[in-house]
Amino acid sequence: MKWVGLIAVIFTGGLLLSAMDDFPNWGDAHSPANASPVSQYYIEKTIEDSGVPNMVTAVLADYRGYDTMFETVVVLIAGIAIMAILRVMNGVPGGARPSPAHEIGDQHDIIIGTTCRLLIPVLQLFALYVIAHGHHSPGGGFQGGVILGASFILTAIAKGLDPALERLPEKRYVKLAFVGVVIYSGFGVACLLLGENFLDYGVLQVLLPTIDAAEARSHSMLGVEVGVAFTVSAIMFAIYANLASKGELEGGL
């Protein structure tokens, strides 16, 4: 196996490097990728189209919003898949109960507990900021969603899985995850119902008469980012909760 791997790796590496001379130089602003009309368009027209200074957010949620919708679906699938594979459902005889030695949560440390109590609200507030401010600064639904999910994971690490699950029970996070994708695709379907192509947010201005098409795009982007954040935060916690408890959702690390 080692030899097969080595040969495969040397062969692939040689193949990848063989094209290196043909590459544009690193940092070349006029390489085909950087000077293409597509990327020029994003840089020049984002403000005009939607008024969002962060081009990455604009491309992510608007121009290539279709990709991002499926990316959210990928996250949803990951959570559902882990539950389908690992979750030991009630009534189904599963693996052994977690041994008492694993239940570190019961003997929690005062320093960790206090730190987490201080840290978690700040973390959640920051997550909301990241979600909402993704138009103007780095961030958006994915990053904010992960931070929000991480705050629940931190609760689970510090206090044990059960207190964390009290705050975000299984039924609720599964529902949240689905609702997130429903929000995202709902925006697209709304555009569809108003007679435009899927995810063409500009048409949503008819719902709010005071705004123009660019503002409608900007606000819709925020809307889909919130949907993304729902799904991502719920699924990140779901992944951790299932992996940490071998799918039994009790005890934890």
């Binding site: 193949l15 085909p32 919003g65 499926f70 699938i77 689905f178 695709s185 379907v189 192509n197």
Partner: protein, 516 residues
């Protein structure tokens, strides 16, 4: 409304999955009706898409309305080839969902909603892969379908299902990553992700570019892993035979075929047949490997004692048919390949449905346990026989006509080795399936007393499958025959896309055909 069909077919499946997830948690009984509704709608919409493509030509749908400089948004692009493959995918999805009805509810009561969510998302991912016109979007949807199939395979009750799923994850990730890297190389040189735009940029390049060649090789190798082409098929037999029947019935017919479809799409639309066949001298090599794939798959299939494993190795051989056909640089080879994508999807579906019924009703896993099946399960065997005749290649099933086109392509382009391999493989299939028929019709020789004899008291318990399992099987058999009967119409549709103005390089295809 009608111009929105391309997105609606995906949305129907997506919302089906979301509603199954949300409503299924409250009441498990709604899962199956919701799933069926979504799939029936999806089939209807794909029929609508096919009609529109036939009457109105290529459909181009710009998601988000971003059409001005092509490539800033994502384009869905459907010609007759996509439309036919899309209809195949949704139909297979519908038939398998019907088949899974009782099975899933008996197997995994608590996880039923999760199964149907993953199932619908798998069909959505495959459909999306087929209709997209964006190279990166294809990667995202490839991952959607891969992740769902990993999960569905790992849900198998067998202890080995998890191990098979793990090696599938490793191989699948390598394949998808190679594809992603290939798209990266393409992007570096062309600056766009839209398939048609990439093609234009490749045509506009002055002189040969090693980056494009490496990109092509990376994408090809990635897809070869995904479609289990000859040296890289190790993951397939275990993954497909240890998963639940309702999973194998959808994964086995579709995953490899969609891989072949994507390869064909890359050759036709992204790189262009002219570039692929005239710039690269890979034709002999690829057809040579395809010959090896056919022979290896057939020989391995002969050696198997388990029914599902045997079918898995037959898939390896069938992939060899298709890759070889596509790489013959010949009009009939390409037509035969695309026709075979559809035909083989239904043939494989028929095989796995029958295998699923055998396991369920009679607990049959091995070929020698099939004795007396014609007497006990006449309808199941009838469906199975049609599928088997198609695998062997007997008219009027679709298997005969696809082999006819492929052999014609092979003869015209002078790939005699491929023609021989195809005939040998048909012979092997004939041996395999007539052996099964013999066991199932005449029963085993009484001298063979050892091993897994079913108790005679148990034997009488074996009875015909339930309608929910039988209808999909018989429907598949009918479709196999219909595909064969209407082969000239289908070929005409396929040729229309090959000769369409936007698929450049048909000239190369037909001229080479004439030379052969």
């Amino acid at each position: 409304m009608a111009e929105q069909y391309p997105i609606i077919v995906l949305l129907v499946l997506l919302f089906g999955a979301l509603f199954v997830g949300l409503a299924g948690m409250a009441d498990r009984r709604v899962c199956f009706p919701l799933t069926m509704t979504a799939l029936v709608l999806a089939v209807m919409v794909s029929v609508g898409i096919l009609q529109r493509v036939i009457s109105g030509g290529v459909i181009r749908y710009f998601v988000g309305g971003w059409s001005r400089p092509v490539g800033i948004g994502i384009e869905l692009r459907i010609d007759t080839i996509n439309a036919l493959v899309l209809l195949t995918i949704t139909t297979v999805g519908l038939l398998t969902a019907l088949f899974s009805f009782r099975r899933v509810q008996e197997d995994k009561t608590e996880k039923t909603p999760l199964f149907y969510v993953l199932y619908l998302l798998l069909i959505m991912g495959l459909s999306g892969m087929v209709i997209t016109g964006d190279a990166f979007n294809l990667y995202v949807l490839l991952e959607v379908s891969s992740l769902t199939s990993y999960a569905l395979i790992a849900m198998g009750k067998s202890r080995r299902a998890a191990v098979a799923a793990f090696s599938y994850i490793i191989m699948g990730t390598i394949g998808a990553s190679f594809y992603l890297l290939g798209v990266g190389y393409l992007y570096l040189r062309t600056g766009t992700l839209n398939m048609m735009e990439i093609h234009q940029a490749i045509l506009a390049l002055d002189g040969p570019s090693s980056t494009i060649v490496v990109a092509f090789v990376l994408i090809l190798v990635g897809l070869m892993i995904k479609m289990a082409f000859f040296p890289l098929f190790g993951w397939l037999p275990n993954a497909y035979s240890y998963c639940p029947s309702s999973t194998s019935c959808v994964v086995a017919p579709l995953m490899t075929k969609v891989g072949v479809y994507v390869m064909v799409r890359m050759m036709l639309t992204v790189f262009g047949t002219e570039w692929v066949f005239e710039n690269l001298q890979y034709t002999q090599w690829m057809v040579g490997i395809a010959v090896l794939a056919i022979l290896a798959g057939s020989v391995m299939a002969l050696a198997q004692v388990e029914l599902k494993k045997m079918f898995c190795y037959l898939i390896v051989a069938e992939v060899g048919y298709m890759v070889g056909g596509a790489w013959m640089a010949n009009h009939w080879g390409m037509v035969g390949t695309i026709y075979h994508i559809m035909g083989d999807a239904f043939m494989t579906l028929c095989m796995f449905l029958a295998a699923g019924i055998f396991v369920k009703q009679a607990g049959v896993v091995r070929i020698d346990q099939l004795d007396g099946m014609f007497r006990k399960m006449p309808w199941t065997m009838a469906g199975f026989v049609v599928g088997a005749l198609a695998m062997i290649g007997i008219p009027p099933t679709c298997g005969f006509f696809s082999k006819l086109y492929l052999i014609r392509g092979g003869m015209e382009s002078g790939h005699w080795g491929y023609v021989m391999a195809l005939l040998i493989s048909s012979l092997v299939n004939a041996v395999l399936f007539f052996r099964i028929f013999e066991i199932a019709y005449f029963g085993k020789k009484p001298a063979e007393g050892h091993g897994h004899h079913v108790d005679h008291s148990e034997e009488s318990v074996i009875k015909e499958a339930r309608p929910s399992a039988l209808i999909p099987l018989l429907a598949t058999a009918v479709i196999i025959v219909l595909l064969g009967l209407f082969n000239s119409n289908l070929v005409e549709l396929i040729e229309r896309s090959l000769q369409g103005s936007e698929v450049i390089g048909t000239r190369a295809l037909s001229s080479k055909g004439g030379l052969g």
